[in-house]
């Protein structure tokens, strides 16, 4: 595809899509949870802007509604809820360093290349001028999943989950100018409800294991506890 054949607004869509992907990369090694929430909010804001630009290029007026919905939910409401959760869980100063940061980043780059390769046949379908954004959005989905795999902190994993949803939304907007409004409303409220439920779960997890490090969940089996108990008896 030649960039010169696209109008300035369509080029803007590409730039915004690339920036969204960059924010996914920035989320990956981020140590502070509050900064992660900020980055996630920026990603939502970019997505809303991108939706508005797609709406004005294609003349799809219902997309303005979903742009507003995205802005309200993903850039403002959900980040605000996550912020409140972090404050109430007293995790503002919590830091989690990735063990092999460079390796994780390289894996992320490899995943983006892989998703581009997967999307190549789809992109040949001439769906719209900005169909290459589908490759980016699959990359964002994969990066969100990678985030959930490499992080041990439950709040960070939830942000990964939410950014997976951002990637899906980007694919829908860029490839087919958005889903029907009913579906979009349904998904938006699903995400909202998920955010609320996750909040409740955080408190449950913390009550049972005194931490939000999900790796500790593997040690909850009774057999291991008995083993630990017998070991301590043996030492005594």
């Amino acid at each position: 595809m030649n960039l010169m054949h696209l109008s300035l607004l369509e080029q803007t869509i590409l730039v915004l899509g690339a920036l969204t992907l960059f924010l996914s990369f920035a989320l990956l090694p981020q140590a502070r949870l509050t900064t992660m929430v900020h980055l996630f909010a920026w990603q939502g804001g970019l997505l809303a802007l991108l939706t508005a630009v797609v709406a004005s290029v294609g003349g799809n007026h219902h997309l303005y509604v979903s742009a507003l919905l995205t802005l309200a939910l993903k850039a403002l409401l959900i980040p605000w809820m996550l912020h409140r959760l972090i404050r109430r869980l007293q995790l503002e100063r919590h830091q989690e360093r990735l063990d092999r940061q460079a390796l994780v980043m390289m894996t992320g780059a490899a995943l983006v290349i892989f998703s581009y390769w997967v999307v190549l046949p789809v992109a040949r379908l001439e769906l719209a001028n900005t169909r290459n954004v589908v490759g980016l959005s699959l990359g964002i989905i994969q990066l969100g999943m990678l985030l959930m795999v490499v992080r041990r902190q439950a709040v960070a994993q939830v942000i990964g989950f939410m950014s997976v949803e951002n990637g899906l939304f980007l694919a829908a907007v860029a490839a087919t100018s958005g889903m029907p409004l009913v579906v979009e409303l349904g998904i938006a409220f699903d995400v909202l409800v998920a955010a609320v439920l996750f909040g409740v779960f955080f408190f449950h997890i913390r009550e049972s294991i005194d931490s939000l490090d999900v790796d500790l969940l593997t040690r909850l089996s009774e057999a291991e506890q008995e083993k630990l108990a017998s070991e301590s008896e043996g030492e005594a």
Partner: protein, 321 residues
Amino acid sequence: MVDFLNPTGWALALLQTLLFAAGAPLLVAWVKRIKSRLQNRRGPSLLQPYRDLHKLFGKEAVMAHTASPVFRAAPYIVFGATLIAASVIPMLAVELPTAAIADVIVLVGFLALARFFLALAGMDVGTSFGGMGSSREMLISALAEPAMLMAVFTLTMSAHSTNLSSVIEHVLNSGLLLRPSFLFALLGLLLVAVAETGRIPVDNPATHLELTMVHEAMILEYSGRHLALMEWAAQIKLMLYGVLLANIFLPWGIASTLSAGSLLTGLIAIVVKLALLGVILAVSETVVAKMRLFRVPAFLNLAFMLSLLGMLSHVILEVGA
């Protein structure tokens, strides 16, 4: 195509290189001046770096008795390599003969040569600070070079040429295009430029605090004309990165013909661009605090990721099926 036998072209290339050498101290003074203003100080005059250089050239060069010929030769090699690297970059006009015989990979090579001798000179006398500075410089450059080359490859893939002159012409001819790849390459190169020229989040050029200095530690043993050449080379390097960034990403104004009028426009354009870049640098140096040395790899990792994303978005968004 470039006419190699055109004497005006060679004369212009020479003039451009001299302008580089003459303008570099002014750019440094300009950045210092803006920074002082932002910190509510008056700041030194814009001519201060020239006075410093003049003073240093007039002084006797003192040598440690453990110094080898490498130590003596290093300032000339560093200055020469940096100046030749500067001559490769189109500053006033494209299609100059110097730009045509050397491409961007040669440019990176010359900078690496200068850095190699700078590090050797730092280790030569055998003081602990020199060795420390050299090891830090090599750490930073080893991490910065892949990021820089990746950004450069993104540009050259768009322009189908590694020649800087052709890259600039390609950007000029394609008009106003919003390229995601250029955006990322610009950000990546900005971070690399900050690290390579030893500006604030990575190194502080204004301090001689032993524990944090990198560049100053390597030239600690130099005095007189040797020190002057080292300082001058560092100033030219800052200007080199400034011109590179300004002319590749915002080439508008650069002369594409060798007439007096367009050359004058080119001169005014590059002065304005460098002045703006200086302001941006001064503001960012005032806002950002110097980071710990152990955070520098993370900083350069970010630069590499940006350049890599530039490459990826070029392939996915701009070329892809």
